[in-house]
């Protein structure tokens, strides 16, 4: 892990790698967050009565709290921000947009989080429900370093509330020492999950991505609201697939790949790259981009309504958008950050496994953007039932 981690543990070389990884990983973070959630909510006091504090370029607060996806920020960028500009950063992580939204909804502007990182498709409803506060773009001049292809998307055409943080896609990784045939599509994934990889398969802990597997494999629109399609998806996922699943894990790159706990894992590309690089057996694992279609998602920097440290939040977003920091982030998280010419910079820097970070125009053409529809509640319902059925 990084050299600047402040925790010091004496252990032998192989154990220290595992410990270091474990201490920062999703398991630790998300469980700690979940357990601490009630306390955290209770401890946070609203800094304003009604309305959200808007940054105006005043002095930075001495704290900054970020609620984001697991393993999603380069530690060296975080610590450089603190040493250059002052605010101490506290990071919490979530596994799905639903989890993020539920915490913001429950806290009603007193979550205590400054920066949140929702996926683009969820932004319109989050704005409508008053969960996000408008950005003061005067404080974020570094947006000029962003590739315009990743700005002004449907969900926020003027980037009033959000700026691209990273984008990626969904596929799967399998253990070639167990699955000897070649898997290429979501149908292959579903077939292997019920055969060679039965009981050793994990899927993302995210309602949209779990149900996506079925829709993508069967050529059904991912944003379908048709009751027949949803019923068929539920029937298949809950009764046929779920009994073969071993885990619902949004970050298999954290442990499942390095420790070879699973044989087949649905995974986001950057997490797959982290896991394969850390596992030390790159030839054992095969990454497959979901096919015939899969998703493209874009996560965005945004500021939560009622953020207690809005100045620091703007300063941070501005800070990470510089080309150097954007590249450092890409190196660590393994996702395209949307910076101008970053592919060239990453190649020049000699980063490994860039085929899991950058995709060809033909590949991008197979990727679909999700949509939050009235079926959202139903998808969450299916996801819940799958979890219960997998444990039966």
């Amino acid at each position: 892990m990084t050299a600047d981690t402040p925790i010091r543990i004496l252990a032998n070389a192989s154990a220290s790698r595992i410990i270091g990884r474990e201490l920062t990983r999703r398991g630790f973070l998300s469980a700690a967050v979940a357990v601490g959630a009630v306390g955290a909510l209770a401890a946070c006091t609203p800094t304003s009565t009604g309305g959200s504090p808007q940054a105006s370029g005043g002095p930075l607060e001495n704290k900054l709290s970020i609620y984001t996806w697991g393993e999603y920020d380069a530690p060296e960028v975080m610590s450089a921000f603190t040493s250059e500009l002052g605010p101490q950063i506290v990071i919490d992580s979530f596994s799905s947009n639903e989890e993020l939204i539920s915490k913001l909804v429950a806290a009603k502007g007193t979550s205590g989080y400054d920066i949140v990182v929702p996926t683009g498709t969820f932004i319109p409803q989050m704005v409508e429900n008053g969960l996000l506060t408008k950005l003061n773009r005067d404080l974020i001049p570094n947006i000029e370093h962003m590739d315009s292809a990743f700005l002004g998307r449907d969900w926020d055409p003027n980037n009033d509330y959000s700026i691209c943080k990273a984008w990626g896609t969904t596929g799967f990784v399998y253990d070639k020492s167990v699955i000897t045939r070649e898997l290429k599509t979501w149908n292959d994934f579903l077939d292997a999950a019920q055969n060679e990889a039965s009981g050793k398969t994990s899927v993302l802990d995210d309602p949209g991505d779990i149900t996506g597997i079925y829709f993508w494999a069967n050529g059904i629109d991912w944003d379908t609201t048709d009751a027949g399609n949803l019923d068929a998806a539920e029937e298949y996922l809950v009764n046929t697939l779920a009994p073969h699943l071993a885990a619902f894990d949004s970050y298999p790159g954290g442990q499942s790949i390095p420790q070879a706990t699973m044989t087949l894992m649905q995974v986001w590309n950057g997490d797959a790259r982290i896991g394969i690089l850390e596992g030390g057996e790159p030839d054992r694992w095969q990454w497959v981009l979901g096919a015939p279609v899969t998703e493209i998602w874009m996560d965005n920097w945004a500021i939560a309504a009622g953020a207690p440290n809005p100045e620091a939040a703007h300063a941070f977003i501005n800070y990470v958008l510089t080309p150097e920091n954007s590249l450092a982030e890409l190196d660590y998280i393994g996702y395209h950050t949307g910076g101008t010419d970053i592919e060239q910079a990453a190649n020049d820097a000699g980063f490994e496994m860039l085929d899991l970070v950058f995709f060809t125009p033909e590949q991008i053409a197979t990727m679909r953007t999700g949509k939050v529809t009235e079926a959202q509640g139903r998808l969450v319902d299916i996801w819940n039932k799958m979890k219960a059925a997998a444990g039966a």
Binding site: I18, E22, G27, F28, A31, A32, A34, V35, A37, S95, S96, E98, E99, I101, S102, K103, V105, A106, Q125, N129, G199, S202, P207, V238, A242, L245, A246, A247, F248, D249, Q255, Q259, A260, T261, V372, Q376, G377, V380, D381, W383, N384, K385, K387, A388, A389, A390, G391, A392
Partner: protein
């Protein structure tokens, strides 16, 4: 002077009301409501038992059964492991060394619960050191397939809750004291009879306390199952958490939480009745009546 005595109890009552009665009241109230839409968590304008019906549907009911199984098996294993250890600590070991042994039991307990559980994740991984070691000495052929099963959860909960069983048992055994055992021996009882007729009956409150201290929190455990259980070792705690955190369905989550409380209360009540029935013949046979002979 009644009022000062009452005044002393006010903090305790306030604590109980504010942090137990009110929150549980809210949970019960929410459980009769419903989820109004994607961005609403609960609404109570229409009251019904529908959430309970939903929570008891076959899909979720299975998780309740699994949880009860882990709860009962985990508590039984804790008792089986703790009993001989505590007996040895309280009876066989010299009193000067007992403090040290208690400290050894307690020190791991002071380590963060989550870190200890994640430690087991590393140990039980199919290519972790335990798996490799068992393969090397030939006990096992092929990787250890325990992680992300109910067995892993069981191992985790026994490890995590064992100190909660050992401590009350130790206090109870320690309190029985050597003089009573010696008296029993003087009166002709062998070691087994002494254990069955003197030590265990006198230590019974400690045993019951240990069982309750382990069983109740274990049934609501969420961390161990999340870290070690994967999809197969699902427990109700996770269902409740996912209803609140991800599904944002506070009504259904509350109904599940209330059902979990009922399951726990019912299990404890059934256990108490069984214990009472079992002790009936024993009690009448050994009643000692002290008083003037008539």
């Amino acid at each position: 002077m009644r009022s000062p005595r009452f005044a002393l109890a006010i903090p305790a009552w306030a604590w109980l009301v504010l942090f137990f009665v009110v929150p549980v009241g809210y949970v019960i109230w929410f459980s009769f409501g419903y989820k109004p839409g994607i961005f609403g968590t609960h609404a109570n304008d229409v009251l019904s038992f529908d959430r309970y019906v939903e929570a008891l549907s076959p899909t979720f009911f299975q998780t309740f059964l699994n949880t009860l199984w882990v709860g009962l098996a985990g508590t039984a294993l804790c008792l089986l492991i703790a009993f001989p250890v505590v007996y040895w600590m309280a009876v066989k070991v010299s009193p000067s060394k007992r403090g040290l042994l208690i400290a050894l039991v307690m020190i791991p307990f002071w380590t963060n619960f989550l870190v200890r559980t994640i430690g087991w994740q590393v140990i039980l991984a199919p290519e972790g050191w335990l798996s490799t070691g068992l393969n090397t000495i030939g006990v096992l052929d092929g990787p250890l397939e325990i992680l992300y099963t109910r067995t892993a959860v069981l191992i985790g909960v026994v490890y995590n809750y064992l100190p909660l069983m050992i401590l009350p048992l130790f206090v109870a055994f320690d309190r029985v004291g050597a003089p009573l055992r010696e008296a029993s021996k003087d009166l002709g009882a062998g070691p087994i009879a002494t254990l069955a007729r003197v030590t265990i009956p006198l230590a019974r409150p400690g045993i019951i306390a240990g069982v309750l201290l382990v069983f109740i929190p274990l049934m609501g455990d969420y961390i161990t199952a999340t870290v070690l259980g994967g999809a197969k070792g699902n427990m109700v705690g996770q269902l409740v958490a996912s209803q609140f955190q991800t599904a944002q369905n506070w009504a259904l989550g509350s109904a599940m939480a209330v059902l979990l409380m009922l399951v726990i209360a019912l299990s404890v009540a059934i256990g108490a009745v069984i214990l009472w029935i079992l002790s009936l013949p024993f009690r009448s046979a050994h009643r000692l009546v002290l008083g003037p002979e008539s």
